[in-house]
Symmetry: C2
Subunit: 197 residues, 2 copies
Protein backbone atom coordinates (compact mmCIF):
# COMPACT_ATOMS: atom_id res chain seq x y z
CA UNK A 1 0.00 0.00 0.00
CA UNK A 2 1.22 3.50 -0.78
CA UNK A 3 1.84 5.67 2.28
CA UNK A 4 -1.15 7.89 3.11
CA UNK A 5 -0.86 11.55 3.92
CA UNK A 6 -1.18 10.85 7.62
CA UNK A 7 1.64 8.27 7.38
CA UNK A 8 3.81 10.94 5.83
CA UNK A 9 2.99 13.48 8.56
CA UNK A 10 3.71 10.92 11.24
CA UNK A 11 7.00 9.99 9.62
CA UNK A 12 8.05 13.64 9.32
CA UNK A 13 7.10 14.34 12.91
CA UNK A 14 9.05 11.43 14.28
CA UNK A 15 12.13 12.43 12.24
CA UNK A 16 11.88 15.90 13.76
CA UNK A 17 11.50 14.55 17.28
CA UNK A 18 14.44 12.19 16.81
CA UNK A 19 16.60 15.00 15.46
CA UNK A 20 15.57 17.31 18.34
CA UNK A 21 16.59 14.70 20.89
CA UNK A 22 19.93 14.26 19.23
CA UNK A 23 20.44 18.03 19.28
CA UNK A 24 19.59 18.12 23.00
CA UNK A 25 22.06 15.33 23.71
CA UNK A 26 24.79 17.17 21.78
CA UNK A 27 24.11 20.82 22.59
CA UNK A 28 21.87 20.74 25.68
CA UNK A 29 18.37 22.09 26.09
CA UNK A 30 19.49 25.72 25.97
CA UNK A 31 21.61 25.11 22.89
CA UNK A 32 18.79 23.56 20.84
CA UNK A 33 18.42 25.46 17.57
CA UNK A 34 15.44 24.85 15.31
CA UNK A 35 17.60 25.24 12.18
CA UNK A 36 19.86 22.39 13.35
CA UNK A 37 16.86 20.21 14.14
CA UNK A 38 15.51 20.85 10.63
CA UNK A 39 18.85 19.97 9.05
CA UNK A 40 19.05 16.75 11.09
CA UNK A 41 15.49 15.77 10.13
CA UNK A 42 15.98 16.67 6.49
CA UNK A 43 13.01 19.04 6.57
CA UNK A 44 12.36 22.77 6.56
CA UNK A 45 12.07 25.09 9.55
CA UNK A 46 8.57 25.99 8.31
CA UNK A 47 7.55 22.37 8.61
CA UNK A 48 8.69 22.27 12.25
CA UNK A 49 6.70 25.40 13.01
CA UNK A 50 3.64 23.93 11.28
CA UNK A 51 3.70 20.81 13.47
CA UNK A 52 4.92 22.21 16.79
CA UNK A 53 4.11 25.93 16.74
CA UNK A 54 7.47 27.32 17.79
CA UNK A 55 10.72 26.40 19.55
CA UNK A 56 8.89 26.24 22.90
CA UNK A 57 6.25 23.97 21.41
CA UNK A 58 8.91 21.63 20.05
CA UNK A 59 10.69 21.60 23.43
CA UNK A 60 7.38 20.98 25.22
CA UNK A 61 6.86 17.89 23.10
CA UNK A 62 10.40 16.48 23.27
CA UNK A 63 11.12 17.29 26.92
CA UNK A 64 7.62 16.21 27.95
CA UNK A 65 8.20 12.86 26.22
CA UNK A 66 11.57 12.47 27.94
CA UNK A 67 10.10 13.36 31.34
CA UNK A 68 7.28 10.84 30.88
CA UNK A 69 9.77 8.16 29.80
CA UNK A 70 11.96 8.72 32.85
CA UNK A 71 8.97 8.51 35.21
CA UNK A 72 7.40 5.51 33.52
CA UNK A 73 10.71 3.61 33.31
CA UNK A 74 11.40 4.25 37.00
CA UNK A 75 7.94 3.05 38.03
CA UNK A 76 8.01 0.03 35.69
CA UNK A 77 11.42 -1.12 36.92
CA UNK A 78 10.25 -0.74 40.49
CA UNK A 79 6.98 -2.63 40.01
CA UNK A 80 8.73 -5.37 38.05
CA UNK A 81 10.99 -6.16 41.00
CA UNK A 82 8.46 -5.68 43.76
CA UNK A 83 5.29 -7.17 42.32
CA UNK A 84 7.02 -10.47 41.55
CA UNK A 85 6.49 -11.22 45.21
CA UNK A 86 3.21 -12.46 46.56
CA UNK A 87 4.06 -11.41 50.07
CA UNK A 88 5.91 -8.13 50.55
CA UNK A 89 7.94 -6.84 53.52
CA UNK A 90 9.21 -3.31 54.21
CA UNK A 91 12.72 -4.61 53.53
CA UNK A 92 11.56 -5.71 50.07
CA UNK A 93 10.08 -2.28 49.41
CA UNK A 94 13.37 -0.59 50.34
CA UNK A 95 15.58 -3.07 48.48
CA UNK A 96 13.64 -2.55 45.24
CA UNK A 97 14.22 1.22 45.20
CA UNK A 98 16.52 2.46 42.42
CA UNK A 99 20.08 3.32 43.45
CA UNK A 100 19.77 7.07 42.92
CA UNK A 101 23.24 7.92 44.25
CA UNK A 102 25.19 5.40 42.23
CA UNK A 103 27.60 6.78 39.62
CA UNK A 104 25.82 6.87 36.28
CA UNK A 105 22.47 7.95 37.67
CA UNK A 106 23.54 11.58 38.02
CA UNK A 107 23.14 12.29 34.28
CA UNK A 108 19.51 11.31 34.64
CA UNK A 109 19.11 13.55 37.67
CA UNK A 110 20.68 16.43 35.77
CA UNK A 111 18.36 15.94 32.83
CA UNK A 112 15.31 15.82 35.05
CA UNK A 113 16.43 19.00 36.83
CA UNK A 114 16.92 20.80 33.51
CA UNK A 115 13.52 19.73 32.22
CA UNK A 116 11.80 20.96 35.37
CA UNK A 117 13.67 24.28 35.22
CA UNK A 118 12.83 24.74 31.52
CA UNK A 119 9.13 24.41 32.39
CA UNK A 120 9.29 27.50 34.59
CA UNK A 121 9.51 29.67 31.48
CA UNK A 122 7.76 27.40 28.95
CA UNK A 123 4.03 27.27 29.70
CA UNK A 124 3.27 24.56 27.20
CA UNK A 125 5.92 22.33 28.75
CA UNK A 126 4.68 23.18 32.22
CA UNK A 127 1.11 22.13 31.29
CA UNK A 128 2.45 18.88 29.86
CA UNK A 129 4.53 18.13 32.98
CA UNK A 130 1.50 18.80 35.17
CA UNK A 131 -0.55 16.33 33.19
CA UNK A 132 2.17 13.66 33.24
CA UNK A 133 2.90 14.18 36.95
CA UNK A 134 -0.79 13.86 37.88
CA UNK A 135 -1.17 10.78 35.76
CA UNK A 136 1.95 9.20 37.28
CA UNK A 137 0.63 10.04 40.72
CA UNK A 138 -2.50 7.96 39.93
CA UNK A 139 -0.38 5.05 38.70
CA UNK A 140 1.71 5.16 41.91
CA UNK A 141 -1.47 5.16 43.98
CA UNK A 142 -2.62 2.00 42.21
CA UNK A 143 0.79 0.36 42.67
CA UNK A 144 0.87 1.27 46.36
CA UNK A 145 -2.64 -0.17 46.80
CA UNK A 146 -1.32 -3.41 45.37
CA UNK A 147 1.71 -3.33 47.69
CA UNK A 148 -0.60 -2.86 50.69
CA UNK A 149 -2.76 -5.78 49.53
CA UNK A 150 0.26 -8.05 49.48
CA UNK A 151 1.85 -6.89 52.69
CA UNK A 152 3.26 -9.78 54.73
CA UNK A 153 1.56 -10.48 58.07
CA UNK A 154 2.85 -8.26 60.87
CA UNK A 155 4.37 -5.66 58.49
CA UNK A 156 3.15 -2.08 58.52
CA UNK A 157 3.71 0.35 55.70
CA UNK A 158 3.29 4.13 55.67
CA UNK A 159 2.75 5.08 52.03
CA UNK A 160 3.29 8.78 52.74
CA UNK A 161 7.00 7.98 52.51
CA UNK A 162 6.28 7.61 48.79
CA UNK A 163 3.54 10.17 48.23
CA UNK A 164 5.15 12.97 50.24
CA UNK A 165 8.85 12.20 50.58
CA UNK A 166 10.07 10.23 47.58
CA UNK A 167 7.74 12.02 45.16
CA UNK A 168 9.45 15.31 46.08
CA UNK A 169 12.96 14.03 46.54
CA UNK A 170 15.64 15.76 44.48
CA UNK A 171 19.03 14.12 44.96
CA UNK A 172 20.77 17.12 43.40
CA UNK A 173 21.44 18.59 46.83
CA UNK A 174 22.84 15.25 47.89
CA UNK A 175 25.07 15.35 44.80
CA UNK A 176 26.31 18.85 45.71
CA UNK A 177 27.27 17.62 49.17
CA UNK A 178 29.70 15.05 47.75
CA UNK A 179 31.54 13.18 50.52
CA UNK A 180 29.72 15.18 53.17
CA UNK A 181 26.36 13.74 52.13
CA UNK A 182 24.59 10.71 53.57
CA UNK A 183 25.41 7.28 52.12
CA UNK A 184 23.08 4.95 50.23
CA UNK A 185 22.97 2.75 53.32
CA UNK A 186 21.97 5.66 55.54
CA UNK A 187 19.31 6.62 53.03
CA UNK A 188 17.85 3.12 52.93
CA UNK A 189 18.02 2.81 56.70
CA UNK A 190 16.07 6.04 57.05
CA UNK A 191 13.42 4.89 54.58
CA UNK A 192 13.08 1.51 56.29
CA UNK A 193 12.54 3.15 59.69
CA UNK A 194 10.05 5.70 58.38
CA UNK A 195 8.03 3.30 56.26
CA UNK A 196 7.35 0.95 59.10
CA UNK A 197 6.48 3.52 61.74
CA UNK B 1 39.92 60.91 51.91
CA UNK B 2 40.05 60.33 48.19
CA UNK B 3 38.80 56.92 47.07
CA UNK B 4 41.65 54.41 46.67
CA UNK B 5 42.01 52.15 43.68
CA UNK B 6 40.56 49.20 45.57
CA UNK B 7 37.55 51.35 46.57
CA UNK B 8 36.98 52.06 42.91
CA UNK B 9 37.25 48.39 41.93
CA UNK B 10 34.83 47.43 44.69
CA UNK B 11 32.39 50.12 43.63
CA UNK B 12 32.54 49.03 39.97
CA UNK B 13 32.09 45.38 40.90
CA UNK B 14 29.04 46.04 43.03
CA UNK B 15 27.47 48.17 40.27
CA UNK B 16 27.97 45.27 37.88
CA UNK B 17 26.48 42.75 40.30
CA UNK B 18 23.50 45.01 40.97
CA UNK B 19 22.92 45.48 37.26
CA UNK B 20 23.23 41.72 36.59
CA UNK B 21 20.59 40.99 39.23
CA UNK B 22 18.26 43.52 37.71
CA UNK B 23 18.79 41.92 34.29
CA UNK B 24 18.01 38.47 35.74
CA UNK B 25 14.83 39.80 37.33
CA UNK B 26 13.72 41.34 34.03
CA UNK B 27 14.95 38.84 31.43
CA UNK B 28 15.60 35.66 33.41
CA UNK B 29 18.84 33.74 33.80
CA UNK B 30 18.88 32.56 30.20
CA UNK B 31 18.14 36.04 28.90
CA UNK B 32 21.03 37.72 30.71
CA UNK B 33 23.21 39.57 28.23
CA UNK B 34 26.58 40.94 29.25
CA UNK B 35 26.09 44.04 27.04
CA UNK B 36 22.90 44.91 28.93
CA UNK B 37 24.62 44.39 32.27
CA UNK B 38 27.41 46.72 31.18
CA UNK B 39 24.92 49.38 30.05
CA UNK B 40 23.06 49.13 33.37
CA UNK B 41 26.29 49.41 35.37
CA UNK B 42 27.64 52.26 33.26
CA UNK B 43 30.79 50.33 32.46
CA UNK B 44 32.36 48.52 29.53
CA UNK B 45 31.98 44.86 28.61
CA UNK B 46 35.78 44.56 28.87
CA UNK B 47 35.60 45.63 32.48
CA UNK B 48 33.06 42.89 33.25
CA UNK B 49 35.29 40.29 31.62
CA UNK B 50 38.29 41.62 33.58
CA UNK B 51 36.50 41.13 36.92
CA UNK B 52 34.44 37.99 36.27
CA UNK B 53 36.16 36.15 33.40
CA UNK B 54 33.15 35.57 31.17
CA UNK B 55 29.35 35.34 31.20
CA UNK B 56 29.52 32.06 33.14
CA UNK B 57 31.85 33.64 35.69
CA UNK B 58 29.45 36.54 36.17
CA UNK B 59 26.51 34.15 36.54
CA UNK B 60 28.48 31.99 38.98
CA UNK B 61 29.00 35.03 41.17
CA UNK B 62 25.47 36.47 40.99
CA UNK B 63 23.54 33.19 41.14
CA UNK B 64 25.87 31.82 43.83
CA UNK B 65 25.18 34.95 45.91
CA UNK B 66 21.43 34.55 45.40
CA UNK B 67 21.53 30.85 46.31
CA UNK B 68 23.51 31.59 49.48
CA UNK B 69 21.09 34.37 50.41
CA UNK B 70 18.05 32.09 50.00
CA UNK B 71 19.63 29.36 52.13
CA UNK B 72 20.89 31.71 54.82
CA UNK B 73 17.58 33.61 55.01
CA UNK B 74 15.62 30.34 55.34
CA UNK B 75 17.88 29.07 58.11
CA UNK B 76 17.99 32.42 59.93
CA UNK B 77 14.20 32.78 59.91
CA UNK B 78 13.83 29.24 61.18
CA UNK B 79 16.39 29.61 63.99
CA UNK B 80 14.94 32.97 65.01
CA UNK B 81 11.54 31.40 65.68
CA UNK B 82 12.74 28.14 67.17
CA UNK B 83 15.70 29.17 69.29
CA UNK B 84 13.65 31.74 71.17
CA UNK B 85 12.39 28.81 73.17
CA UNK B 86 14.36 27.33 76.04
CA UNK B 87 12.44 24.07 75.85
CA UNK B 88 11.51 22.71 72.43
CA UNK B 89 8.87 20.14 71.42
CA UNK B 90 8.43 18.34 68.10
CA UNK B 91 5.30 20.45 67.55
CA UNK B 92 7.44 23.59 67.89
CA UNK B 93 9.93 22.24 65.35
CA UNK B 94 7.14 21.58 62.83
CA UNK B 95 5.30 24.85 63.48
CA UNK B 96 8.45 26.89 62.84
CA UNK B 97 8.98 25.43 59.34
CA UNK B 98 8.44 27.88 56.48
CA UNK B 99 5.15 27.61 54.59
CA UNK B 100 6.63 26.29 51.35
CA UNK B 101 3.30 25.71 49.63
CA UNK B 102 1.76 29.07 50.33
CA UNK B 103 1.12 31.34 47.34
CA UNK B 104 4.05 33.70 46.97
CA UNK B 105 6.68 31.12 47.84
CA UNK B 106 6.59 29.52 44.40
CA UNK B 107 8.68 32.31 42.82
CA UNK B 108 11.42 31.47 45.26
CA UNK B 109 11.12 27.76 44.44
CA UNK B 110 11.32 28.53 40.72
CA UNK B 111 14.41 30.66 41.18
CA UNK B 112 16.13 27.98 43.23
CA UNK B 113 15.27 25.37 40.60
CA UNK B 114 16.69 27.54 37.82
CA UNK B 115 19.90 28.22 39.74
CA UNK B 116 20.43 24.49 40.37
CA UNK B 117 19.75 23.67 36.71
CA UNK B 118 22.13 26.41 35.52
CA UNK B 119 24.91 24.83 37.58
CA UNK B 120 24.68 21.62 35.54
CA UNK B 121 26.35 23.39 32.61
CA UNK B 122 28.32 26.08 34.49
CA UNK B 123 31.21 24.48 36.36
CA UNK B 124 32.20 27.60 38.21
CA UNK B 125 28.65 27.99 39.53
CA UNK B 126 28.53 24.31 40.40
CA UNK B 127 31.74 24.60 42.47
CA UNK B 128 30.29 27.64 44.24
CA UNK B 129 27.00 25.85 45.02
CA UNK B 130 28.90 22.85 46.36
CA UNK B 131 30.85 25.09 48.71
CA UNK B 132 27.74 26.94 49.90
CA UNK B 133 25.71 23.75 50.32
CA UNK B 134 28.45 22.09 52.39
CA UNK B 135 28.84 25.17 54.51
CA UNK B 136 25.07 25.38 55.06
CA UNK B 137 25.03 21.71 55.96
CA UNK B 138 27.51 22.46 58.78
CA UNK B 139 25.38 25.37 60.02
CA UNK B 140 22.29 23.12 60.07
CA UNK B 141 24.20 20.51 62.03
CA UNK B 142 25.08 23.11 64.65
CA UNK B 143 21.49 24.33 64.80
CA UNK B 144 20.15 20.80 65.14
CA UNK B 145 22.64 20.13 67.96
CA UNK B 146 21.21 23.14 69.74
CA UNK B 147 17.63 21.91 69.16
CA UNK B 148 18.55 18.52 70.63
CA UNK B 149 20.11 20.21 73.66
CA UNK B 150 16.90 22.07 74.35
CA UNK B 151 14.48 19.24 73.71
CA UNK B 152 11.65 19.15 76.25
CA UNK B 153 11.56 16.12 78.59
CA UNK B 154 9.90 13.11 77.02
CA UNK B 155 10.23 14.41 73.42
CA UNK B 156 12.27 12.48 70.88
CA UNK B 157 13.59 13.98 67.68
CA UNK B 158 14.98 12.22 64.60
CA UNK B 159 17.21 14.77 62.89
CA UNK B 160 17.42 12.68 59.71
CA UNK B 161 14.08 14.22 58.80
CA UNK B 162 16.14 17.39 58.25
CA UNK B 163 19.43 16.01 57.02
CA UNK B 164 17.95 13.48 54.57
CA UNK B 165 14.38 14.53 53.82
CA UNK B 166 14.04 18.29 54.08
CA UNK B 167 17.54 18.94 52.75
CA UNK B 168 16.53 17.17 49.51
CA UNK B 169 12.94 18.27 49.32
CA UNK B 170 11.94 20.01 46.08
CA UNK B 171 8.33 21.22 46.26
CA UNK B 172 8.26 21.70 42.49
CA UNK B 173 6.67 18.29 42.01
CA UNK B 174 4.11 19.24 44.65
CA UNK B 175 3.47 22.44 42.66
CA UNK B 176 2.96 20.45 39.44
CA UNK B 177 0.37 18.27 41.18
CA UNK B 178 -1.87 21.27 41.94
CA UNK B 179 -5.11 20.21 43.64
CA UNK B 180 -4.07 16.58 43.51
CA UNK B 181 -1.10 17.21 45.80
CA UNK B 182 -0.98 16.84 49.57
CA UNK B 183 -2.00 19.83 51.71
CA UNK B 184 0.20 21.84 54.07
CA UNK B 185 -1.56 20.13 56.98
CA UNK B 186 -0.86 16.68 55.59
CA UNK B 187 2.77 17.68 55.07
CA UNK B 188 3.15 18.93 58.64
CA UNK B 189 1.36 15.88 60.00
CA UNK B 190 3.79 13.62 58.15
CA UNK B 191 6.80 15.54 59.45
CA UNK B 192 5.48 15.48 63.01
CA UNK B 193 5.00 11.70 62.88
CA UNK B 194 8.38 11.01 61.33
CA UNK B 195 10.38 13.35 63.53
CA UNK B 196 9.18 11.76 66.73
CA UNK B 197 9.55 8.13 65.70
Amino acid sequence: MAPTNSDRVEHAQSSILRSARQEIETSGILGLRVAEVAAGANCSITQIYRYFGDRNGLLARVLGDMYAEILVATRDAYSAVLLQKQSITVDDIVAALPAVFEPGSSNLQHLRLQILAASVTNEELRARLEEITRDESDRWDEGLDEVENRLAPGESFDRRVFTIFLANFLPYYRILLGDKGFSSDEFRGFLRDKMSS
